[in-house]
Amino acid sequence: MSNADIVVCPGGPLLIRGDHVIRDEDGAEHATVRPVSAVCRCGKSATKPWCDGTHKLIPEKNRP
């Protein structure tokens, strides 16, 4: 049984459970708004730092 609060999804986002504030590469801070949030790992999301499912559009070998 998994009780991890931070989970790496193969080929997809990083799941983080709970309230967090994420600082992006430009220094802007983004607060989580839901019980679990998905953080982009492929770099292609249009709503960074959050995952928007775009990793599915890139070839499998280039996914995180």
Binding site: M1, S2, P35, A38, D52, G53
Partner: protein
């Protein structure tokens, strides 16, 4: 919550069976009830679908013109059982079976599930909306989608007490977000209702059910069938996982299409919310609900795939039907 909506009334009957069942639901004391009055076959798939839809609604918020006790009326339940057995048989007949993949359960299942969803071929309503739909066509689509979106997540909520510990926690975590994290104004069904009002449509449940084609009713009926039968908990969660895993990117296309048409921000917000929410939910549904269900009971896996197939197959058929109508127009 500021959104107050009229309570739904029974829809219009679509044949002999729905006519009789709706009459019986309104007037439970009718003598005719005991003489096989309800034992007629539906005139058509449409008659069957609207009858079953209305009978299922008795387990959600019911109808203003039907007594709450009708939910457990044995005569009505007998009709429901007959219709849902037919529906399940039809859905199972369409299903090609569990897809082959290397390994079993756990991470292998998770990977296979996401790949299967990505490779599922079907026409896309969201691409049409993104690029070329007219405002009228989008409003038509919203009316049909409202039958489900105004009760979004409710069918899956019935499944919570039927799951083992890990999957139960996983489903609650997902549902907590669907139901607004405790804030009524963030409840997804409520966001959709606000969007409906903002684009000039009725926000109350069941407002457009009379114009819903058979397939839309069958989509809703499949979710209720899976949600209301503990035996079908695998199908319910497989359906949920496939629904979430085909939501983020299409919701963004829907939002872009509505922006192109200059439609109301509230409805665009509903779809934008689902881009990020469902990017999380698809991971939770597959990894924290379906995979743990299989770990506890490997026999449930087949129904997870059955439910997932049903979700994508019904949506593909609806998309094909609507695109054909729109492209002919």
């Amino acid at each position: 919550m500021s959104m107050t909506t009229a309570r739904a009334r029974l829809p219009k009957p679509r044949g002999t069976l729905s006519e009789r069942v709706f009459q019986a639901a309104r007037e439970p004391a009718q003598e005719a009830r005991s003489t096989g009055y309800l034992d007629v076959e539906p005139d058509s798939a449409d008659d069957a679908a609207i009858t079953l839809w209305a009978l299922y609604e008795l387990s959600y918020r019911g109808f203003e013109d039907v007594d709450d006790a009708a939910e457990w009326d044995l005569d009505l339940l007998r009709v429901r059982r007959r219709l849902e057995a037919d529906l399940e048989a039809q859905l199972r007949a369409r299903w090609p079976g569990v897809p082959a993949y290397d390994g079993d359960g756990g991470a292998a299942f998770e990977e296979a599930f996401f790949r299967w969803v990505e490779e599922f071929e079907g026409p896309s309503l969201s691409r049409f909306v993104q690029r070329q739909a007219t405002t009228e066509q989008v409003l038509d689509l919203l009316r049909l989608k409202s039958v489900y979106h105004l009760k979004e997540s409710d069918p899956a909520a019935f499944v919570v007490p039927r799951l083992e510990v890990e999957a139960r926690a996983g489903l609650m975590e997902l549902q907590y977000d669907e139901y607004g994290g405790g804030r009524p104004d963030r409840l997804h069904a409520g966001l959709f209702a606000r969007g409906m009002a903002a684009v000039g449509l009725r926000p109350d449940e069941g407002a457009y059910v009379d114009e819903a084609p058979t397939l839309v009713l069958e989509q809703n009926n499949a979710m209720s069938l899976f949600g209301l039968h503990r035996r079908l908990r695998g199908a319910a969660m497989g359906h949920l996982a496939a629904f979430e895993a085909t939501s983020s990117l299409p919701c963004r296309r829907m939002a872009q299409g509505m922006e192109r048409l200059g439609m109301a921000a509230e409805m665009i917000d509903y779809y934008t919310e689902h881009v990020e929410a469902d990017a999380v939910h698809e991971q939770l549904a597959v990894r924290n609900i379906c995979a743990p269900m299989i770990a506890v009971d490997p026999a449930v896996e087949a129904d997870i795939w059955f439910g997932a197939f049903t979700c994508l197959d019904q949506e593909a058929r609806l998309a094909g039907q609507l695109l054909e109508q729109w492209e002919a127009a």
